[in-house]
């Protein structure tokens, strides 16, 4: 954390300045990221050839992009620590709070069709411990239900909160979530896609990081037929930090897509992205797109992105595309790494030379692969659950289906 401006008198002005400067910046000039807009005409039905859609199996979205009206909802259950509120607001109020305009068709449709938004509000200066997370569980009742979701999460200045958003059951769900993190606030947020096998989820978490605020956002995708999640971050002032983490495990036939966009629109901001995934079974498909834009004003920023995929069986496909657009060289650092690989034979040999069976050695390597990331999530109760889920995924398939390579 960098030095914080503690003069309380400047708070409102700073906020106003930020909004003003954000408006002045206007359109995102990145060719990789279409300009945000509420106007559906700006987000035509994709053909599948567009850069932002070319990896997504459009047919399997089961008509979501047609944008039919629907008043179906996900069942909502919430554990709210004292002081935190969950209320319904209008779409206009969502804009007034400072939500980020939709950047693709599903998010634009979600705003247009949801008929209002849900506001999760953490007031200024309220500091919540990571052992008392805000947990919101959204459950879909039926794979055929078309559900539009519109959510705003607001953290007041200098507040501190841990938020877990868990998706279960099944639906055709398109949602946009804006997270407005006030100056000096600290957010740890996890979006857990724990859907049934037939769910379709097109989600977008757009995060505004206040001056000297810090945000950790983790996207975890295990379930669903097609899951396509955006995690976008931009900054309302200098000194903001964002850590974007992701963990996914695609089984046979699953399409799990994660699209990141760190828009360094303020100086001395930081972004650090680590996504790790595993694939197993025929037709398992993952896509990771990591876009970073360093604008001309963004001097002294630091960014790093990393994506690692472990391909456990034949018949899987992992796409991994890091993109870096740089408009100033006056920065601390910018880099990215991407690696997609099978099990390392030398690792397996080392473990097996200690008596550990082939299947157990693979389990251990995969456990380790994810454990590094799981430890960073920073919510003890959830970390245990994630470890257990990874183990269960493995038990389900890897140990049965893997040909015991090198057993002879």
């Amino acid at each position: 954390m960098t030095v914080t401006d503690t003069d309380p008198g400047t708070g409102l002005d700073t906020a106003r300045d930020s909004v003003a400067s954000a408006l002045e910046q206007g359109r995102v000039e990145s060719h990789l990221n279409p300009p945000p807009s509420y106007d559906l005409a700006d987000h035509p039905v994709p053909t599948g050839r567009e850069e932002v859609w070319r990896f997504t199996p459009l047919k399997r979205l089961r008509g979501i992009l047609d944008g039919e009206a629907s008043d179906k909802q996900l069942r909502r259950e919430a554990t709210l620590p004292e002081g935190v509120t969950l209320t319904e607001i209008t779409a206009e109020q969502a804009r007034e709070i400072g939500e980020l305009a939709p950047n693709d068709r599903p998010s634009a449709l979600a705003v247009a069709n949801a008929g209002g938004a849900v506001l999760l509000d953490v007031p200024a200066d309220l500091e919540l411990d990571s052992t008392e997370p805000v947990v919101v569980t959204l459950t879909g009742e039926d794979a055929e239900d078309l559900v539009w979701g519109h959510v705003v999460v607001r953290l007041g200045r200098f507040s501190k909160a841990t938020i877990v958003l868990r998706h279960t059951g099944s639906a055709r769900y398109a949602a946009t979530t804006t997270v407005v993190v006030g100056d000096g606030a600290e957010l740890n947020m996890v979006s857990l896609q724990d859907w049934a096998d037939d769910a379709v989820h097109l989600g977008r978490d757009a995060i505004r990081v206040g001056r000297d605020a810090s945000v950790k956002h983790t996207s975890v995708s295990f379930g669903g037929d097609v899951v396509r999640m955006h995690a976008n971050v931009q900054y309302d002032g200098p000194g903001g930090e964002a850590e974007l983490l992701g963990l996914y495990f695609a089984d046979a036939g699953q399409h799990l897509e994660h699209r990141l966009f760190a828009d360094h629109n303020q100086p001395r901001t930081k972004s650090n992205v680590v996504y790790k995934g595993a694939l197993q079974g025929q037709g398992a498909r993952t896509v990771w797109i990591g876009n970073v834009l360093i604008r001309k004003v963004a001097e002294g920023i630091e960014t790093y992105e990393e994506n690692r995929n472990l391909v456990l069986t034949d018949g899987c496909q992992a796409d991994s595309v890091p993109n870096l657009e740089i408009e100033t060289g006056e920065i601390e650092g910018a880099g990215h790494a991407s690696a997609t690989a099978r099990f390392d034979d030398e690792q397996l040999f080392y473990l097996r030379a200690r008596g550990i069976s082939d299947a157990e050695a693979r389990r251990l390597v995969l456990h380790g692969f994810f454990q590094d990331l799981i430890r960073k999530v920073g919510i003890p109760s959830l970390e245990e659950q994630l470890t257990a889920t990874v183990e269960a995924e493995l038990a389900k398939n890897v140990l049965d289906e893997l040909a015991p390579a090198g057993a002879s």
Partner: protein, 252 residues
Amino acid sequence: MSELVIKDLQVSVDTEDGPKEILKGVTLTIASGETHAIMGPNGSGKSTLAYSIAGHPKYTITGGSVTLDGEDVLSMSVDERARAGLFLAMQYPVEVPGVSVANFLRTAKTAIDGEAPKLRTWVKDVNGALDRLNLDSTFSQRSVNEGFSGGEKKRHEIAQLELLDPKVAILDETDSGLDIDALKVVSEGVNRFRGQEGKGVLLITHYTRILRYIEPDRVHVFVDGRVAESGGPELADELEANGYDRFLKAQV
């Protein structure tokens, strides 16, 4: 009691130019309680011998046999060999990110013994083994070999030797890259292992230095994929004085 018998072992490795023969008929018997040193110049096939016995998939056995107490080692999988009582201390131990030393050791011990070790005595055993190798107890929380110094990697290998307690240990250049203090600590660990009833050791090294701390019963000079000469500890002394020149010349 344990006896490792290597008979006329021939091994090749696949290269871009087709298979290349590396071991050209190696015959050695490590009888119960014996320590054999294999010495030789770089590229003579010493490490190939170690990795072939352990079952590394890179090497193809083209002839000969290896038995441990009469059991056919070459027909076993890598992990079966370890469970049968073979241990290979590697020259370049492999990193396994995210897997703690404690988890790794417990998993290996469970696999070797066929049942999980008793928790209370096991923690004591692990801490004791680490302590004897000058590794502090926080070491067990680190990821296997990740960020270890060269010396830590080798001491970790010997800690495994103590805890997994095999019948026969093959040490592949365990002395390389060690300073004198680490070399002493590692040698003491090997000597504790040797001090037990009936343990065999095959110590592969390029230098005679480690033989000042671990006295071998037999010394074999390895040249061009075979044993060129065998003798007692005095053969190591001769190599110390004269190097490998005599053997390399004989080859030409």
